[in-house]
């Protein structure tokens, strides 16, 4: 454990550093989703998770960080753009659901949304 983090601090900035940032963001997002009772908080967690993943795509797709630097290497960026678009669409739909939920229950407490239980 220790040598891994130690090397992070000593090495020049590379893919692993980005991945660490992405991982931290991902975990924050996941924790946020799991703990927030407010729907909006959950949606924010989702955004964090998606963008944590996006950082990984960008890092792997970056021409500065890749060994085959002579190629254009836009695939990571493109996928990240897709993810952003999807996230926007998802946020729109999720907010609509939240609004309707609020209309129904006068609340945005996610724990009250348990009608889907088995």
């Amino acid at each position: 454990m220790t040598p891994l983090f130690a090397s992070l601090l000593t090495e020049p900035v590379g893919v692993s550093h980005y991945m660490m940032v992405g991982a931290v963001m991902f975990v924050c997002g996941a924790v946020c989703m799991a703990t927030k009772r407010n729907i909006l908080g959950v949606l924010m967690g989702i955004e964090l998770v998606l963008n944590g993943a996006n950082i990984n795509f960008i890092a792997f797709g970056s021409p500065y960080l890749r060994s085959d630097a002579n190629q254009l290497g836009l695939d990571g960026q493109l996928i990240a753009l897709f993810v952003i678009v999807l996230a926007a669409a998802e946020a729109a739909v999720a907010l609509a659901i939240a609004l309707n939920f609020y209309n129904q229950h006068n609340s945005i407490d996610i724990d009250r949304a348990d009608e889907l239980q088995g």
Partner: protein, 848 residues
């Protein structure tokens, strides 16, 4: 196409297949064709006749000119028989032959091999060996043999469609197709009632009405075509297996045709009888075939050349090898098969020696002739011969299997004419003639005696029969007996010649009787009489047939066809008797039979056509048959008169003489079993010392029979009724056909019925009880099992499984809380767990 080796097999092959084509057409489109079915069948058979005639006149005769030797004194009235004719003819007749046999023993032969599609035709041209005086009567006949198509080849067993064509085949093709053509034309007239729905007055239904059924005109011609195809197949066949196939086809066709009026009980019984009795004979034939094939390993008659160019010896050259001057000898394979123990002993004595195989072979070769002389394998030859003859006994209605043939009269008359002249019964005689070289002297003697018994028995029964067709049927049986007798006493030519002449006059007689029946609507001669005024064509053509069958003629000058053939038989019988005084009855029986033949034939003619009408009503309604029916009669009567004549050097006997099997002419003295038996040279029977007495005896017996018939039935000097009452016992004996049917009924049919009834009882009580009981046991068992096993074990386990699944589902249900946050937690924890698990095992796997 120019040379006969390729042309004749093709021509005859087409003539053979045309009736099959006609059969197929009528089979599929018969209903649509209606009257045209007759045209299809008739044109097929007439084309067949034309092709056969082309094969004979266009190809066979130019390449095999008839010898002008001794044969003419049969056909030419015996004028040339005197002096040195005998010696002269022997040298003359062989010299122009084209022969065809395998191992070259004499010099001066060229051989050429021709491939023709599948067919392999091989002809060896034989030049007369001028230096070998001994050889001249051992010459093999000219023949073409080959295979068209191989059906099956399993190890040694080879079944093929092939041909064996010699002058007998060609002549048979012409005769069969000619007579069948006449019969086809005749049947167009005779069967016209079948064009419309028919009311059968002989069948009464349970409600008292007569049966009305659709006409079966087309079906009749369909069967006729198949019949002709089968018969021609037998004649064309190149091997015994093929003969057997077509032999059975002829049997099934006769079954169809005899049972044509199948609704009549008598017809269906007669058809069954014909079929079953023939099976008895065929059983023997199969034994004969097995004996031949098991030892010789071939079915082929003649020598053929296989694909590799090897000559395969046929049955005939194995039994009568050319090295042995075509004399009969037990084939090596039969000797070895029979002396198996001795072979084993020799092999045993050489066990372990170096070059044991050569030593064994040498010793076997040394021993072979000794064993052959000791008679090893001879029994096998005799059994093979007797077996083949057994099949012929069934097909040609010889004693003791003669009973089916008179019953076969239940078929329409054209069928009777066909069955009794050119096809079915001829097949048996033909096969005996074909197999003649393979018969040991003992077998020949058996054949002669069977023939004698048959001819006498049938002739006596014919005296008392009153059904016009039955008289003719018994006369057929009797004439077939003559043919067998002739073949048995060594008269190959006489027997075959009689087969041809008989075919013409017997088909004529049957068709005349059919014409009479057509006119008066009854078979009973006691209701006929005086019909010659009403139907002169029929009456006088039938008179020709009667004169031909009794062998009428002016001795040594000229005569009807039967005169030549019957005299030839009696001459050879007398010749045989001269050499074997023990068997004198063979001649006297045959001569006596000739008298009886003359008597019953003219009894038939007088009762039918002469005198006063016995039944005025029937007489008034009688009328001459239509032209399509009596023209064939005229054609056939021309042949019945003249087929034995020699015209411009051409004669039937000369043609047939070319086919005489190799080595069967010279006198044979002694078989291995009957040492003092002599089968005399047939040409010796034409010596004046034999011919003159035989001819006079034949003439006088025939005239005596004719005279007796005239006295009783024409002049009525003696009352037939009175004679009948005087010989009541004899009359009853003959009317009941020697009680053969009753005898067979008692010996075979009743015991079979008895056994069948007992078997049926056993079946009903024991077997059915057993089966019902076991069914009950099974039902009981299954009920127990249903209660115990099925409900508890099987159902229980299934239900348990279902309950457990249900419970599991219920318990897992609690996990689905609907709490989104919980789900997220589970996803995260699950993913981490999975990741940890995979990375753990991943590292183990890498380490491993």
């Amino acid at each position: 196409m120019g040379n006969p080796e390729t042309a004749i097999p093709i021509l005859l092959g087409i003539a053979w297949l045309l009736p099959l084509a006609s059969f197929t057409i009528i089979l599929f489109w018969g209903r649509m064709l209606g009257r045209a079915a007759a045209l299809v069948a008739t044109s097929a058979i007439v084309s067949g006749f034309v092709l056969s005639l082309i094969a004979l006149v266009g190809f066979w005769l130019p390449s095999h000119p008839l010898s002008s030797g001794h044969d003419d004194h049969i056909s030419g009235g015996g004028l040339r028989v005197e002096g040195g004719g005998h010696a002269l003819t022997r040298t003359a007749h062989h010299s122009l032959f084209t022969t065809h046999h395998s191992p070259p023993t004499t010099s001066g032969r060229g051989s050429r091999v021709e491939g023709l599609g599948h067919a392999l035709t091989r002809t060896t041209t034989y030049s007369p060996p001028t230096t070998h005086h001994d050889d001249h009567h051992h010459a093999a006949p000219a023949y073409y043999a080959g295979d068209w198509y191989s059906l099956v080849e399993i190890g040694q067993l080879k079944l093929s469609i092939g041909y064996y064509i010699d002058s007998l085949t060609v002549a048979m093709f012409c005769m069969v197709t000619l007579i069948a053509s006449c019969i086809h034309f005749y049947a167009m007239g005779y069967m016209h009632e079948e064009l419309h729905p028919v009311t059968d007055h002989e069948v009464t239904l349970s409600n008292g009405d007569h049966l009305t059924r659709p006409g079966r005109f087309y079906r009749f011609f369909q069967y006729l075509s198949l019949f002709c195809f089968s018969m021609l197949g037998i004649v064309y066949a190149g091997n015994v297996a093929m003969v057997f196939i077509f032999w059975e086809l002829v049997g099934i066709c006769s079954y169809f045709l005899i049972g044509f009026y199948i609704e009549r009980k008598s017809a269906s019984t007669a058809a069954n009888k014909a079929f079953i009795v023939n099976r008895v004979g065929d059983f023997g034939m199969i034994i004969g075939l097995m004996a031949l094939f098991g030892s010789l390993g071939t079915f082929n008659f003649g020598d053929t050349v296989d694909e590799t160019g090897q000559t395969q010896a046929g049955i005939f050259s194995l039994i009568r090898p050319a090295e042995n001057h075509h004399r009969l000898q037990t084939p090596e394979a039969m000797v070895l098969a029979s002396a198996r123990d001795q072979q084993a002993a020799i092999r045993g004595s050489h066990l372990g020696e170096p070059q044991a195989a050569d030593a064994v072979d040498a010793q076997l070769n040394n021993q072979l002739d000794t064993w052959r002389e000791q008679g090893y394998g001879y029994w096998l030859l005799v059994i093979a011969g007797l077996g083949i003859f057994c099949g012929c006994v069934g097909k040609s209605a010889q004693f003791p299997l003669h009973t089916w043939l008179p019953d076969a009269m239940e078929g329409p008359t054209p069928v009777s004419a066909l069955v009794h002249s050119a096809t079915m019964v001829a097949a048996g005689v033909y096969l005996v003639a074909r197999f003649f070289p393979a018969f040991a002297p003992e077998v020949l003697l058996t054949i002669a005696y069977v023939g004698l018994i048959t001819l006498f028995l049938a002739a006596t029964i014919a005296i008392t029969a009153t059904d016009i067709k039955r008289v003719l049927a018994y006369s057929t049986v009797s004439q077939l007996g003559y043919m067998m007798l002739a073949l048995g006493v060594g008269g190959w030519l006489a027997g075959v010649f009689h087969l041809f002449t008989h075919a013409f006059f017997k088909s004529l007689l049957f068709m005349c009787s059919g014409s009479v029946i057509h006119a008066v609507h009854t078979n009973e001669m006691t209701e006929m009489g005086g019909l010659r005024h009403k139907m002169p064509w029929t009456a006088y053509t039938m008179l020709v047939g009667c004169l031909a069958i009794i062998g009428a003629g002016i001795p040594f000058v000229i005569g009807f066809s039967g005169y030549y053939s019957k005299d030839a038989i009696l001459e050879q019988a007398l010749n045989f008797t001269n050499h074997n005084p023990v068997h004198a009855i063979l001649f006297y029986g045959a001569a006596g039979g000739a008298a009886i033949t003359a008597f019953y034939m003219f009894r038939l003619w007088y009762m039918t056509f002469a005198g006063e009408p016995r039944n005025q009503h029937r007489y008034d309604h009688a009328h001459e048959s239509p032209k399509v029916m009596y023209y064939p009669l005229v054609v056939l009567s021309v042949f019945a008169i003249g087929v034995g004549w020699s015209v411009g050097g051409l004669s039937l006997t000369g043609l047939l003489e070319q086919a005489r099997p190799a080595g069967t002419l010279p006198t044979v003295e002694g078989g291995l079993l009957l040492g003092d038996l002599v089968i005399p040279n047939e040409h010796d029977s034409h010596l004046p010392a034999v011919k003159t007495p035989a001819t006079w005896i034949a003439f006088s017996t025939a005239m005596a029979g004719l005279l007796l018939a005239t006295v009783i039935y024409c002049w009525r000097k003696v009352d037939a009724e009175e004679i009948r009452s005087q010989f009541r016992a004899v009359h009853r004996f003959l009317v009941n056909k020697w009680w053969f049917d009753e005898l067979y009924d008692a010996i075979f049919v009743q015991p079979t019925h008895f056994v069948a009834r007992r078997a049926s009882q056993v079946d009903k009580s024991v077997l059915d009880g057993l089966i019902d009981g076991s069914a009950k046991v099974v039902r009981w068992c299954s009920r127990i099992l249903d209660g115990v096993l099925d409900r508890t074990v099987v159902d229980g386990s299934i239900n348990l499984f279902a309950r457990k699944t249900w419970g599991l589902g219920l318990s897992l249900r609690n996990v689905q809380t609907g709490q989104l946050r919980q789900y997220v937690m589970l996803i995260v924890v699950g993913t981490v767990a999975l990741f940890a698990l995979v990375s753990f095992f991943w590292s183990i796997a890498l380490a491993g």
